[in-house]
């Protein structure tokens, strides 16, 4: 119903406006309701994102870089998650396009949210692995057959899953 959507929209928007600068280390962003049908009724419309990375001029979303778009998406997804948490959350390689500084801010937010919900993150990135309470290595020593083994961060490199970028 429209009232509940507006309440949720406002709550998500508020959280998004806090998360974006936290993930981007500055800048600002917000959600805007759009009037799709031209009748002035924005509560039936779409949702637009207006985003400005730190120090940059306000531009349309498609001018953003690959990493900036991914980080904006993460800000919004996490904002929704914080407003209406689910018992657990699965993230499959969402950190792939991010540089190191952004991955570190990303993982800090995951760490915070994990007080309330369980997180399962699939990643190739060592900085993300560092916040895990437990690491599962998936191997395929016998080709085509997956094996699971609980590993410590130090043993990771033998699994060759971690991308060594330094």
């Amino acid at each position: 119903c429209r009232k509940r959507f507006k309440e949720t929209f406002d709550a998500v928007n508020e959280r998004f406006q806090v998360l974006f600068p936290r993930l981007f280390n500055g800048g600002n962003a917000r959600l805007v309701l759009t009037d799709e049908s031209g009748d002035g009724d924005v509560l039936q419309g779409g949702v637009d994102i207006v985003a400005q990375p730190p120090g940059k001029k306000l531009q349309s979303l498609d001018m953003m870089s690959g990493g900036e778009k991914a980080l904006t998406a993460v800000s919004l997804i996490f904002a929704m998650f914080m407003v209406k948490p689910t018992p657990f959350c699965l993230l499959d390689e969402v950190d792939a396009p991010l540089d190191e500084a952004n991955v570190i801010r990303f993982r800090e937010i995951v760490k915070d949210m994990s007080d309330q919900s369980q997180f399962i993150v699939i990643t190739h990135n060592r900085r993300t692995m560092e916040i895990a309470d437990r690491l599962y290595g998936v191997t395929m020593e016998e080709p085509g057959i997956s094996k699971l083994v609980s590993v410590k961060l130090g043993e990771m490199d033998q699994l060759k899953g971690a991308r060594k970028a330094s």
Partner: protein
């Protein structure tokens, strides 16, 4: 409902019986390309009642059954079990249990089974359980590989649907 563990057997590349202990707050799943990490995501979705093969990167539902390798023949059945801890946030009929285990099986001949704490139930009972707890019913609780950018590139109307899920 907190997840305690997931058991996989005959599901995609998990030919042999394997499990993950998921009790901790943050679990990371790591490994080389193609070793089976995203298959774990598919397993969770499937056990929660996913009915569309497309959402599991397959053409037909039988595609989730281990179909053999150089060294092994295909499996006859795929089975996933997810075990939850009863933290109070469960439908009333489950309050009596410490743990709730949801099991889904698919046989090569196409027959499906659903079990709750080892008792046969219908798909509807499984989906009701999950609906009641909010688990897995919100699109933003599972972000699949390569799809995080979608919410930024999607049309405003589609983005609205995504947010409505949080409402």
């Amino acid at each position: 409902m907190r997840i305690k563990r997931i058991d996989l057997c005959g599901f995609k590349s998990f030919c042999d019986r394997m499990h993950l202990d998921l009790r901790q707050s943050v679990t990371a799943v790591v490994g080389p390309n193609g070793c089976g990490k995203s298959n774990v995501v598919d397993a969770l979705r499937w056990a929660m009642g996913e009915q569309s093969a497309k959402h599991l990167r397959g053409k037909a539902m039988a595609d989730v059954i281990f179909n053999g390798s150089d060294s092994r023949g295909p499996s006859g059945m795929a089975e996933i079990s997810i075990t939850f801890e009863n933290d109070g946030n469960v439908p009333p009929e489950f309050l009596q249990y410490n743990e709730i285990t949801v099991t889904r099986r698919l046989h090569r001949d196409g027959t499906s089974e659903y079990l709750l704490n080892r008792l046969p139930v219908r798909l509807r009972d499984v989906t009701n359980l999950f609906l009641g707890t909010g688990v897995g019913t919100r699109a933003y609780s599972i972000i699949e590989q390569g799809r995080v950018g979608l919410i930024v590139s999607s049309k405003p109307v589609d983005r609205r649907y995504f947010i409505e899920e949080a409402a």
